[in-house]
Symmetry: C2
């Protein structure tokens, strides 16, 4: 049992050399070099490379014992690293190749040694640059279907699920979401931050009684529905990829919550990127094509997710909800199919509702997204933000009537149409 | 720190004498006598009395270290006692006087010393004997409103709620409910037990695709909705009372689940009692009067519960869901009122759905209720059971359309009417 000691660029290579994994990654007796690359406030991240073969490398992430951000403290940093490590290990079991491999983890050192993703980039910027990732819908739908199905009551026994759930009671990270996704953006709160040109729209959201009742209901859902082990922060900044390969990173928010929260995060971030191209991409033909690609990707993600989830369920219906014998009666196979269909429809409703909240909070809460903030012209940015507010509002208000991808994408393209009309 | 040692009639008085509480309950230097009164398989229960003043007494409940029932084991017995003790302590905080007072608890001895309820009886038999409890609706609605509100996200902060929830992850007792309320009664399972005269009706339930889809959805709700710390087994056998005083006992099933599960249990047991009087009480006038009293009690329980819960919420809206500031906008007070109204409507839907499942399982699952099993004539019993199946089925299928007590009670009296018609 080691005790905690913060590593540095001069000590991390020595730490790594002593691990078993060093023998499989690095050539024997080679020299390792280390570089701190973290931009974080709570952790340090080192890349440790083989000096003679820099393609051979590992990433080392360690929680830091001092307060770099107001309100944060050491026990919370430790807890954060524990949830991230536990979630990474679970995801490596369920979706190896779609998350960074974990080579080693050391709870006492509050540290995890993992695969170095040198050929991947964070998804957000390449989407602004109109890059295409032809396998992304396939990869992310597999990630979603497998992580959500295999941690739910559909696959696990009641006891297995509750044991896993008890390891992921994550109050402090949940509180961040409870505040910054479901409450503060829609009321006076000092950290809120928005483009003054959309003052009127922001104010209208804050005074929209029906909308706020619906958001409060979705907050209830987020706080009470322990449906699956969700990533909890699955925006396009938590995805690293290239044209062939996709990895989901940073699962420190993981807890048992509604499946639709994760799916909604992916879809909603793609919608924000779609909207941002009204400002980023001025050539209408180029914009139109790329936006069509994004809408198609959104449609594919849900469609493939639903098909994969359903297939996993049919092939692995060994969970508590409910046992296979339950459907053994004349017409039972069809009843089971209808139960699956209704279950997935409820997941779609949750996806749209939670996605809508997250879209709104990116315009009027503590933190926006680079897709939007990188629009320098405040008028152009406001036009995009008005669309996001309109679409987010409708997603929230209408979430339990959105029954197909056509319904969901119709709200997006209706919004976009209103922009084009206004320009005419 | 003591170690575990099973008490006996000859040692329990000595154990009690050494406790601080003995000085407040018993006269100094008096003689105590002990009697084992438990009918349980897992616990022993002693009444320890002052020999000279038998009104002065305590109850001692201790988990037993040996297997009296197949499939049960010592770690499970210990766990059971831990949940019961924790829940009793919490309920004593929230509703003192509506649960037995806890005088002492000793985790190492797996034991709790509590108030002796010598003047109370288990509710089930007196209801069959047509006794009335004029304050029951008031008492049980207070129990429900306070235990459910004060353990929910409406009152607690996110961190407080999750901490409490983590103390009540109760997989083995939940599994009993998952199996015996939501699955096994509706499929082939060896422990199922029903009156052969309702074979056809039981078979019809097992083959009713819509019903089984709805029950599976309610099972999902039971397994995933961590809304409040519920009692988890609140039938009329878990209630001891007299004309002035009501106590809820045996909370070993306590966990974070849907509020409607507890409320549904109370209402559904009163409906089963109501139906049983078609066999127990042959004088139509006497029956009619008592049944009207029961329906009125059901109405009062929900109505008073809803009013008390709402008042608690308005007066104590300090929880996470959502913060008071959220409703501070023009029209916000009315929006908050509408959110409360919609929240309580969802609780009513859950009440009806879960209550319906529990009504069905009492007719075709492992264990019925004395109200029904005490009907000796199997034909008369079958008539009652057919009504219970019909009403339970409609409660499940229509639960999300039941918006008022008139809707809920209308289904009950429609069913009863069909019996009268059949007799004509």
């Amino acid at each position: 049992m080691t005790t905690y000691e913060p590593l540095s660029e001069s000590t991390v290579a020595g730490y790594v050399t002593k691990l078993d994994v060093a023998r499989t990654i690095f050539a024997p007796n080679t020299r390792l070099t280390a570089q701190e690359v973290g931009d974080g406030n709570l952790n340090q991240v080192f890349i440790v490379r083989d000096e003679n073969d820099p393609g051979r490398a590992v990433a080392v992430k360690q929680a830091l014992p001092y307060i770099r951000v107001v309100g944060e403290s050491w026990p919370l940093s430790l807890e954060r690293m524990r949830f991230e490590t536990q979630a990474l290990l679970k995801q490596n079991e369920l979706v190896p190749g779609l998350v960074p491999a974990v080579y080693h983890h050391d709870p006492a050192m509050s540290l995890v040694v993992m695969e170095f993703l040198g050929e991947h980039q964070i998804m957000r910027k390449p989407l602004v640059a109109r890059m295409r990732f032809p396998d992304f819908a396939d990869h992310i739908s597999t990630f979603l279907a497998r992580t959500l199905f295999f941690t739910s009551d559909l696959y696990l026994t009641g006891a297995e699920k509750k044991e896993l759930q008890s390891q992921f009671i994550n109050p402090h990270l949940c509180k961040i979401t409870e505040d910054f996704v479901y409450s503060n953006p829609y009321m006076d709160s000092p950290e809120n931050n928005w483009n003054p040109l959309v003052n009127d729209e922001v104010e209208a959201v804050r005074q929209n009684a029906n909308l706020k009742i619906a958001i409060a209901g979705l907050k209830e859902d987020f706080m009470t529905k322990g449906q699956a082990l969700i990533h909890g922060d699955l925006h396009t900044g938590s995805i690293m990829l290239n044209e062939r390969d996709t990895r989901v990173i940073d699962p420190e928010f993981a807890f048992y919550g509604p499946m639709g929260f994760d799916i909604g995060a992916v879809l909603e971030n793609l919608v924000l990127n779609y909207l941002s191209h009204f400002a980023h991409t001025l050539d209408p033909e180029i914009r139109c094509e790329y936006q069509a690609y994004l809408l198609d990707t959104i449609r594919e993600i849900w469609t493939q997710f639903a098909a994969k989830f359903d297939r996993l369920w049919v092939e692995n219906a060994k969970g508590e909800l409910p046992p296979a014998t339950y459907w053994q009666f004349p017409g039972g196979e069809e009843a089971f199919r209808r139960f699956r269909e209704q279950y997935l429809l409820r997941v779609l409703h949750d996806t749209v509702g939670h996605g809508g909240c997250k879209m709104l909070r990116r315009v009027m809460g503590i933190v926006s997204v680079w897709d939007v903030t990188s629009i320098i012209d405040l008028e152009a940015r406001a036009a995009v933000e008005r669309l996001a507010i309109g679409i987010g509002t409708r997603w929230v208000l209408e979430h339990s009537q959105v029954n197909t991808m056509d319904d969901l994408l119709g709200i997006v393209t209706d919004g976009a149409l209103s922009l084009k009309m206004a320009r005419v």
